[in-house]
Each structure stands twice: as C-alpha cells, then as structure tokens.
C-alpha cells in the first residue's frame, strides 16, 4: 500500500511540471503582454516595469525562478494587475469561498445521487424508479449555467425567497442556489451510473447465492452488493471533481460570490498572466491530488487491484 501511494506521488511530480511548463510557454508565446495598452508606454518605462517583474530575464531563467519559488516558498509571484497584491493574496481571498460551496456541492451530488440511484435500483420498475430515472434524464440537460438563471428566476425574482447573489461569510441563504446550480447535473449522472451498476450487481451469481442461502435483503445489499456496485461511481468521481472546479468559475461569476473563479476570468480578460498561471496550476494540482485519492479508494474497493 505504501509503495502504491509513493508510486502515485512520484508520478504526480512530472505531471505537475509538464503542466507548469506548458502553461508558462503558452503565456509567453502569446501576442501582447499584460502591459500592452491602447496608449503605448514609453520604452524606458516599459523596460523599468519589465525589470521590476523580472520579464527582462531570459525565458529559461524566468521559468526556473518561477518553479523554484513555487516549490521552495509556495510563492506564485506578484500580480501584474494589482500592484498591492500578489497571486497568493488573490488565491487566499477567493479560494476558501470556492472551497466551501464546492465541497458542499460535491457532497450533495454524491450522497443524493447515490441514494437516488440505489433507491431506483432496489425498487426497479416502480414509481420511485421512474421518478428517479426521469429526474436524472431531465437534470442532465440542466448544467450549472442553465440552472443558475432558472433558480434566480424562480427563487429571487418570482418568489423573493433567496438573495440573488453575494456571499456574506457564507450564510446559508447565500449558499443554497450556488450549491444546487453546481450539483444538479452531476447528481443526475451519479444517480444513473449507480442505478445501472447496482442492477448489474444484483443480477450476478454471487447475489443469487446469497439470496438462495436465505440472507435478508438489507444484508445482501449492504454487505455484498454495495461495494462492487460503487466501483463505476468511484471512477466517475474524478470527472465530477473537475466539473465542480470548472463549474465554480461560473458560480463565482453568476452569483458574485467573490470566489477564485471570478479572479480567474478577470485575469483571463485582463491578461494578468501570473494570476491566470497561478490559479490554473492550483486547479491542476487539486485535480491531480484528487485523482490520487480516487485511485486509493478504488484500490480499497476492488480486491482485484494489487499494488
């Protein structure tokens, strides 16, 4: 087990490096820098600014410094846009917000999705099953950027129950709509996957044996069926994680939460390369870390996997 984790960790390092280098190269071949504006700056001023941010150094040195700073001091460098803040400040300000409702959405999508799927599978071809399947089909065409406007239309404009945006320290009224908007479509996918995989397991031979020897249904489900039925669901968790990260960009902007996604798109529009690079690397690093976690979970669930 320890070797498996170590192996995966070693593997994550080149992945991170490739990602950083690729992003770095992309940013530097891009036409137009963060300091190109409508009114060109005098060359002397431009040279001074570039020296201040180290942009006058050769590329390999810039890249080396950048990676060294991240690895040694966890420092993503200064922001090109805001003079008084560096990238770490931007991340420290936005990330806790995004993390809060992101984690809540993830929990909501997995728990409700799995419960719905199990319910549908165990009560196959009943009203509950049809309702769950119907919901999961409709909800698939309701991605976050469709759910957001619909929710605001109903709960803010028509009923006036919930505030249309803002954060205010994450009070529950401000959390409900972002979480629903972010989790609905993945909840549906998880429910579908859980249902079909549970049905497949319930039809397999070892479950028939368990039934034949007279085990009560709840013990069959909990002790025998649940673990193998969760395998496809667990392998779908990493995509869900990526969707939550990407979707948070929408939620941050649409519900004005002040989260990291807002900083991400602003930096994209303002060509604030250091913030863009920093957030991309953070998102990528989180994804890699989460892939590791799901790998471990998968190895624990599936006895066929040996490390």
């Amino acid at each position: 087990m320890f070797r498996f984790i170590l192996n995966r960790l070693i593997y994550a390092v080149p992945t991170m490096l490739v990602m950083i280098v690729a992003c770095f190269v992309l940013m530097h071949v891009a036409p137009g820098g963060p300091f190109t504006s409508e009114r060109p700056l005098p060359p002397q001023v431009l040279a001074n600014i570039e020296a201040r941010y180290g942009l006058d150094q050769p590329y390999w040195k810039q890249l080396w410094d950048y990676i060294a700073n991240i690895v040694l001091r966890f420092d993503f460098g200064p922001s090109f846009q805001y003079k008084d803040r560096d990238v770490n400040d931007v991340i420290a300000q936005g990330f806790p917000i995004t993390l809060t409702y992101g984690v809540l959405s993830f929990i909501a999508a997995t728990t409700i999705g799995i419960s719905l799927g199990l319910l549908a599978a165990l009560r196959q071809n009943t009203l509950a099953d049809y309702l769950a399947v119907g919901f999961s089909f409709v909800a698939q065409v309701l991605p976050n950027f469709v759910m957001g406007p619909i929710l605001i239309l109903i709960f803010t404009l028509h009923l006036g129950w919930l505030p249309g945006g803002g954060w205010y320290g994450g009070q529950w009224q401000y959390l409900i709509m972002p979480v629903i908007a972010l989790s609905t479509s993945y909840m549906a996918s998880i429910a579908r996957i859980t249902r079909s995989s549970m049905l497949e397991v319930l039809n397999s031979n070892f479950i028939r044996t368990a039934k034949a020897k007279g085990l009560p249904t709840h013990r069959i489900v909990v002790q025998h069926a649940l673990k193998p039925a969760m395998l496809p669901v667990v392998s779908y968790l990493s995509p869900v994680f990526v969707y939550v990260i990407t979707g948070s960009v929408f939620v941050d902007i649409y519900f004005s939460t002040g989260g990291l996604g807002q900083a991400y798109v602003n930096s994209a529009l303002n060509r604030d390369y250091s913030v863009l690079l920093g957030t991309t690397i953070l998102y990528g690093g989180l994804t890699i870390f989460f892939n590791l976690v799901t790998d471990l979970l998968y190895a624990w669930l599936d006895p066929k996997i040996r490390y």
Binding site: Q140, F145, V146, G148, L153, A268, L269, R271, T280, T287
Partner: protein, 299 residues
C-alpha cells in the same frame, strides 16, 4: 410449387450492422430524438431564408424598449422577438444553434480521428512505446480541459477555429484510452494472427482488421462526446470568453437572456434555452440508443 414453399427457408445471416440497426430502430426514444434532430438541422439550414433581419442589424425602433416592442411576433418580422439592442433573436438563435451543432460534430470528429489513430497505434505497437504514449495521455488528462480551452482563447484570438482546436486538443484523450484497450483485446484474436501469418503488413492489418472492428466502440464514444463538447462551448461562451460579437452561440445568448430577465424580457432567455436543451436532449437519447445498439457488452 407447393413443394418449394414447404422447403425450409434458409436463414439469412444478419450482419453486425443490420443487427445494430434493428436494435436502434426498436428504441423509440432514440428514433424520436433522431427525427427531432433532423428537423432541427433542417430548420437551422432553411430558417435563415425567412429571417427578416441579419444577426447584427439593429432595429432602432426597438432598441432600449425591448420589453414593450421586442416581443416575439409575426407582425414586425421578429419571430423570436428582439434582444436588448434591438437585434433579431430569430436570426441570432439560428446562428447560435448552428454554432453549437457544428462545435459538437466537428469537435467530436477531430477527437474521433486523433483519438482513434493514437489509441490504435499505441495498442498495436505495444511495449515501451505504448507505455510512454499512455503516460502522456494520463498527464494531459489531469488538466481540467475547459480551463485549457479558456487559456487558449485568452492567449490566441477568440474565434470558432480556436474553439475547435481547443476542443479537439482535449477531447481525444478518453477516446484514445478506449480505443487502445479495444485494440489490445483485438490483437489476441485469431484473425489478426492469421493475417500476420499470411504476411499482411502492419499498416494493412490496422486498416483492414483492427479499425473496422473498433468502429462500434468509437461511434458510441463519439456520440457521448458530442453533447459534452456542446456543453463546454456553451459554458465558455456564457462566460463571455467564446465567439466574438456580432457572431453568437447558444451559450452567449443564454447569458444575454439571463442578464435581462429581470426586466420582463423572458423570451430572450427562454428561446435560446429551449433550443439548447432540445439539442442536448436529442444528443443524449441518440447516444443512449447507439450504445444499446452497438455496445458488445450487452450481447
């Protein structure tokens, strides 16, 4: 003649594709979805003929008073109403739907070609080459693809071509994995061995024996990719990072409609939203039908 009628009729062999077609046609939801999609494509192709305005033409009489004067009506030629600037929503929705369909089909085709070629080569060559090729895929998969596309759109120009490149760059990864796995199992089969024993070249084996057998799996995965790509493009356009004005896409139109829905111009949201949901729903049903028809697991 009576004798001939009594003779046991020779059972006609059913090919894989004939089988698949029968199964697909039996799936009512998939057939209905295909019909709707065909109608939608026809509408998108023929619809512009009836448009009274171009996508960027501003109706000055409506501009600023969209809530009162811009309602969907046959009278003034704005069949789907007008947006806040007084532009014709009929023409714009048609263009947005075209964009979405094109993104889905072209993006998925690029992913299909690249992913199949990559996966088939990795699986066929095997050994260290396969190992390295698949590690590269693993690395690329760890990066959230929508963010890559946003990055590309920011760094290079914002255009439809760039979206295709971005979607194509990120979409082939899963496909290549699936194809590689399938190729590895095909390599164990007798007919490949027979072909090799009779001296067929590697290229011909891949072309004549591996690829045709991959087709089913590839089509199923491509049909899953299409709605995913449409969703990704709409997402990016919603954020305002997609195609540039005056060109538009369903995501951008939904964003515009969502921005003005508080002012009593609900059709600006609902019309593009309906088109979007209809398109995605059709794609999902068709993908489901294709999977049921072609997935060898269910046989």
């Amino acid at each position: 003649m009576a004798f001939a009628a009594n003779a046991p009729s020779v059972a006609k062999g059913r090919s894989l594709w004939g089988d698949a077609r029968i199964r697909y046609l039996r799936n009512r939801a998939a057939v209905l979805a295909s019909c709707v999609l065909v109608l939608l494509i026809a509408f998108v192709l023929i619809g512009p003929v009836f448009a009274q305005y171009s996508i960027e033409e501003i109706d000055w009489g409506i501009m600023g008073q969209a809530a009162e004067l811009g309602k969907p009506t046959l009278a003034n030629g704005h069949f789907f109403g007008a947006d806040d600037l007084g532009r014709d929503l009929y023409a714009r929705t048609l263009q947005g739907t075209t964009t979405s369909l094109m993104v889905g089909l072209i993006g998925a085709s690029v992913a299909l070609v690249v992913g199949t070629a990559y996966g088939a080569i990795a699986g066929y060559v095997g050994g260290r080459t396969d190992n390295i090729m698949m590690r590269i895929v693993d690395i690329l998969m760890a990066i959230p693809s929508t963010l890559v596309i946003i990055l590309l759109m920011v760094i290079f120009e914002r255009s439809l071509i760039m979206i295709f490149i971005g979607l194509g760059l990120t979409g082939w990864l899963t496909m290549s994995r699936v194809v590689r796995g399938q190729t590895l199992s095909l390599m164990q089969r007798e007919f490949v061995e027979a072909a090799r024993a009779s001296g067929v070249s590697d290229v011909m084996i891949i072309w004549r024996h591996i690829l045709p057998n991959l087709l089913g799996v590839v089509i199923v995965y491509a049909s899953i990719l299409v709605p995913e790509m449409i969703l990704a493009e709409s997402f990016i356009s919603f954020l305002g990072l997609g195609v540039q004005e005056p060109n538009t896409s369903l995501g951008a139109l939904i964003a515009e409609g969502a921005g003005t829905m508080a002012y009593g111009t609900l059709w600006q949201l609902m019309i593009p939203l309906s088109f979007f949901m209809l398109t995605i729903l059709c794609m999902f049903f068709i993908g489901d039908g294709l999977r049921d028809a072609l997935d060898p697991k269910d046989r």
